[in-house]
């Protein structure tokens, strides 16, 4: 009797464990099946580097180059803003802040992570967008810059939490060793703590960027969604994610447009996957 129970439980746990992988594989296969169908009609090169995205014109033009650039531009902007602030914040929390300030800051960062992205999106829409418009004298504030700033807020909690963790797990002895040589606190942070935590910090940055590139709702609300090749950070752009979210509802199932949206999904999947793998490599190097 006991053996049967043991057998059942073991198998139940095995099924639970396998289920997650099974579903991931199914999703991936479905994505591939629907997305790759596009390449019967359109060449992959034309798809990736085509300059116009007019999916419902006749014949449809399915070049996602402007969308890729839009995603990269918004992501790069967000990275430039969030990495220095996030890493700086992590250093402050891990090394400099007194105990009480540290607690308050950590709670604050967690709270920031808890804000739903759609809320950040509409806050950005009513505050940041008009602000960007007036400051730069633009016809519209719905720009890549607005998106970058908002997304920086979303990447920040990830970067701060993981980078702080990396700094915290640097052996205390490294710090004492450097201080005992007469290093100042800052010299210790700069030459010992940061290099020792570098792989963890890089992983934090990668995961933060991963979060940004996959973000949909907020960017759709505040980047203006114009599928044209952006020539500056102060013009409206459209990202890969926003395109799928905005158009999937209207695309006719089985049409070229529909397949193209799935193909965009594959591109996004590859980008996110590459970022996660890189982050993972850094994290493993640390251990």
């Amino acid at each position: 009797m006991r053996k049967i129970k043991e057998f059942m439980i073991e198998n139940l746990i095995f099924i639970c464990g396998m289920a997650s992988i099974f579903f991931v594989v199914l999703i991936f296969l479905f994505l591939l099946k629907e997305g790759l169908a596009l390449f019967n009609i359109e060449s992959p090169l034309k798809f990736l580097f085509g300059k116009s995205w007019y999916p419902i014109s006749e014949p449809p033009q399915l070049g996602i180059f402007p969308l890729i650039l839009g995603s990269l531009l918004v992501t790069a902007g967000a990275a430039i803003i969030s990495i220095p602030i996030g890493v700086g914040c992590a250093i402050y929390i891990a090394e400099i802040a007194p105990v009480k300030t540290k607690e308050v800051l950590k709670a604050g960062v967690e709270l920031l992570a808890a804000i739903p992205s759609v809320v950040l999106g509409f806050i950005g829409m009513v505050t940041l967008v008009p602000f960007v418009k007036t400051v730069f004298h633009l016809p519209t504030g719905l720009t890549a810059l607005s998106g970058s700033i908002m997304l920086a807020f979303m990447a920040m909690p990830t970067i701060v939490t993981i980078a702080e963790d990396a700094l915290y797990s640097v052996p205390k002895t490294y710090k004492e060793g450097a201080l005992a040589l007469g290093a100042t606190h800052w010299q210790t942070i700069w030459r010992v703590m940061l290099p020792a935590a570098s792989s963890g910090i890089l992983a934090a940055v990668m995961l933060g960027i991963g979060r940004v590139i996959g973000e949909t709702m907020a960017v759709m609300m505040i980047t203006g969604n114009a599928a044209v090749i952006p020539h500056s950070i102060l013009v409206p752009v459209r990202t890969l994610t926003a395109t799928i979210a905005a158009e999937m509802g209207e695309a006719v199932v089985g049409s070229e447009h529909y397949f193209a949206l799935f193909a965009i999904g594959i591109v996004l999947f590859i980008i996110s996957f590459a970022i996660n793998v890189t982050a993972d490599l850094f994290l493993h190097k640390r251990q």
């Binding site: 002895t173 060793g177 450097a178 005992a180 040589l181 100042t184 010299q187 030459r191 290099p195």
Partner: protein, 248 residues
Amino acid sequence: MVKIEVHKFSAWFGANRVLRDMEMEIFKHEILSIIGPSNSGKTTFLRTLNRLNDLNPYFRMDGMVELERQDVRSIDVEALRRRVGMVFALPLPLPLSIFENVAYGVRMHGEKDKKKIASKVEESLKQGYLWEEVKDRLDESAFKLSGGQQQRLCIARTLAVEPEVILFDEPCSGLDPISTAKVEDAMVQLKEKYTIVLVTNNVKQAARVGDRTAFFLGGELIELDKTDKIFTAPHDKRTDGYIRGKFG
């Protein structure tokens, strides 16, 4: 000549008093060994001399600790730690090459001339009895060295910033007997130029290298005398009991 003078010195972590009314003089160019059971305050005492205890926000001290007649608390802390170097229980190379580990402190204190840095590194590694073993592989990671070599690397790193006093905090606790002997040799050579304070759990080590030996118990200095005196005819029964291995 007195190098370090300690007078009516007590220390606390929070409400817990870990050192009580210490009176001590440490002379130039001697090796002073500090022995005593765990939790007798040896390491806390050592870390007072370079103010490493300051990292603990609950640390508090009272009384006088002077380096060459200057209160350690009135000396700029980085300058103090440069004058009073420290070698830790576990060798802790920085995640850098062998060369960079030693050059680190030299660079940090503002030396930019590459030739001077290189000659300082060589000189320090020689003083730390490591040069012969590593001169052909200075660019390798310091983690490739054996435990004993790493410890001597840490000694060389400390020497490179030209301290006056070197604190050793159980420097051989993780080392095999041969490496221990090498580190001890280095210490004995080093006292020609430096003042050495050695905290050790190994009573025999104190007997081998110390000019004078102090016995700590429960945060108090029980006895401080010439090493052979401590080991042959100690004043206090407790000292005698400890070195005979009766407690601790």
